[in-house]
């Protein structure tokens, strides 16, 4: 496996006078060419993680490296190859989009002059109005352009589609795919499940400052696919079904059982074989349910 683009090891942050850690022992790796979704409820520690990675705030303990450079000691050097979009993206109100991008371009020269223009065209960005007159969506477009215009190897994006209309969201997803194909690593914080499903290869769930789960999207899809609704001709054998390891009875009535099953299906079919089954339905993948379990703290 190639060297991780982002690697954190027990990264922790405790603010002065705070009773608990805002981020505790976070250990993750994001590979080049991977899109990593970072999910969690408000206040879970997503922004703290991002702000620590960019050295806006100092870690209390632990280490992190981006492109094999220490985030504290080599922060200036590594930021030359990082694109960042803040969750609360702010612009200079008096500057037009053009002026703003000129300014950002002077601070960090783009690898190719065409890239910025291509992004402006792709997002149909409004460059001639002062930022104060722009809608949330148009501001967000400028935020995305400034993050991608120097073609960084690592992109750290906080709620990147916030305020974008569906067409522009589609343009963004396409841009993510292209960046990934070009070998960029993307670390994306989001609340939007469908967006995460479309973009990400892997997701990490954070709650109360701790990483509570990490799954590939394909694993999540596999798990979510094993939800069944079984209708029995006679009384449902609930107690037998409860004996199956990895099975969870979600709900039941006299004849119908809704259950979730992880892993091997054989034990389920063994039980079903000894009963008259009228109907067996596999529920469509419901990843939102998976996500919500992490959000609500049912899963760890």
């Amino acid at each position: 496996m190639s060297q991780a683009a982002i690697k954190t090891k027990k990264l922790s942050k405790r603010y002065d006078h705070a009773p608990s850690y805002a981020l505790k022992d976070l250990s993750i790796e994001v590979q080049p060419g991977e899109v990593y979704g970072f999910l969690g409820p408000n206040g879970a520690g997503k922004s703290t993680t991002i702000r620590t990675l960019l050295n806006f705030i100092q870690p209390t303990s632990g280490t992190a490296r981006i492109l094999d450079l220490d985030i504290v000691r080599a922060s200036v050097k590594l930021r030359g190859n990082v694109g960042y979009l803040s969750g609360e993206f702010k612009l200079y109100e008096g500057l037009t989009g053009q002026q703003f991008l000129d300014y950002m371009g002077q601070l960090q020269s783009p690898k190719s002059q065409n890239q910025r223009q291509k992004l402006v065209e792709r997002f149909e960005a409004e460059l001639h109005k002062p930022a104060g007159d722009l809608s949330k969506g148009n501001r967000q477009k400028l935020g995305l352009i400034q993050a991608f215009m120097h073609e960084p190897a690592v992109l750290i994006l906080d709620e990147p589609t916030s305020g974008l209309d569906p067409l522009m969201q589609e343009a963004f997803f396409q841009l993510v795919r292209e960046s990934k194909e070009n070998g960029a690593a993307l670390f994306i914080s989001s609340h939007n499940f469908s967006e995460v499903l479309r973009m990400c290869d892997r997701v990490g769930f954070i709650r109360s400052g701790e990483l509570v789960g990490e799954e590939t999207i394909s694993d999540l899809q596999d798990k979510a696919a094993h939800s069944f609704v079984i209708t029995f001709a006679k009384t449902a054998p609930v107690s037998e079904l409860e004996q199956i390891k990895q099975a969870t009875i979600v709900s039941h009535d006299d004849h119908t059982v809704r259950l979730r099953l992880e892993g091997d299906l054989t034990p389920l079919f063994r039980v079903l074989a000894s009963h008259k089954v009228q109907r067996l339905d596999q529920e469509t993948a419901n990843l939102e349910e998976e996500f919500l379990q992490f959000y609500e703290g049912d899963k760890k």
Partner: protein, 265 residues
Amino acid sequence: MRAVIEWTLRQRRWYTTWWTVGVSAFVAVEIAFYPSFKNQFAQLNQTIDKLPSGVKGFLGDSGNYFSAQTYLNSRVFYLVVPLLLAILMIGLGSALLAREERNGTIELLLSRPVSRSRLLLSKAFSGLLISGIVALISLIICILLSQAVGLPNSVREIAGAMLLTYLLCLIFGSFAFMLTAIGGHVKSSAVGLTTFFFITTYVLTGLEGTASWLQTPSKLLPYHYFHPQQMLDGHFAWGTVISYSLVSLAFGVIAWLTFRRRDIA
């Protein structure tokens, strides 16, 4: 670094313009009235002499308040220009860095390959340039009009008085800048604390002539050493110039030491 300075100056071009117009206009008006005043100096000095010594301490550092030689000191350099430049520099010092942080735009800068030290230095340099432009144009107006109305001070003497005034105010500007760089609660109180520092230093120095117990503590205050009349008399106060510069530099170093490591809000 150059880009940050350029864009900071660009964003503050109107601010700089209006401050330049304001301070220069004040200087111009004061000097323009010199021909009207000069025939009434004796009368004005008699009036001033009747004031309590505590009040006189606030008006200037020369015993003779109205004369051709002391006119610029009492009307321009001792109180009002320092007051105006101090307001300008406290405003700049408390805003150049803090506004970027308050508005969230500092993340745009620090997510680029720009070190905190360079950002701090760029902002400090921008502040020096803006206040320097205001002081320099006011100085040019002052020199030209002084010569036009027949004031006896040379270009070197007037420039020396303006330099001393500028460096005095720079202490307050750099103090405010340091507070915003330190961050936390002091950042939001930078304007208030620095204004308090400025007023206190002026009031205590003004009162030191009437209250002997104030003479020792006032030696710790920058206004105690502020004697623009010495400059206007042709005695260049190198010691004060160097001391004022070192104090501002010390505030700048503290700003750098704290800002490069602290959390960005």
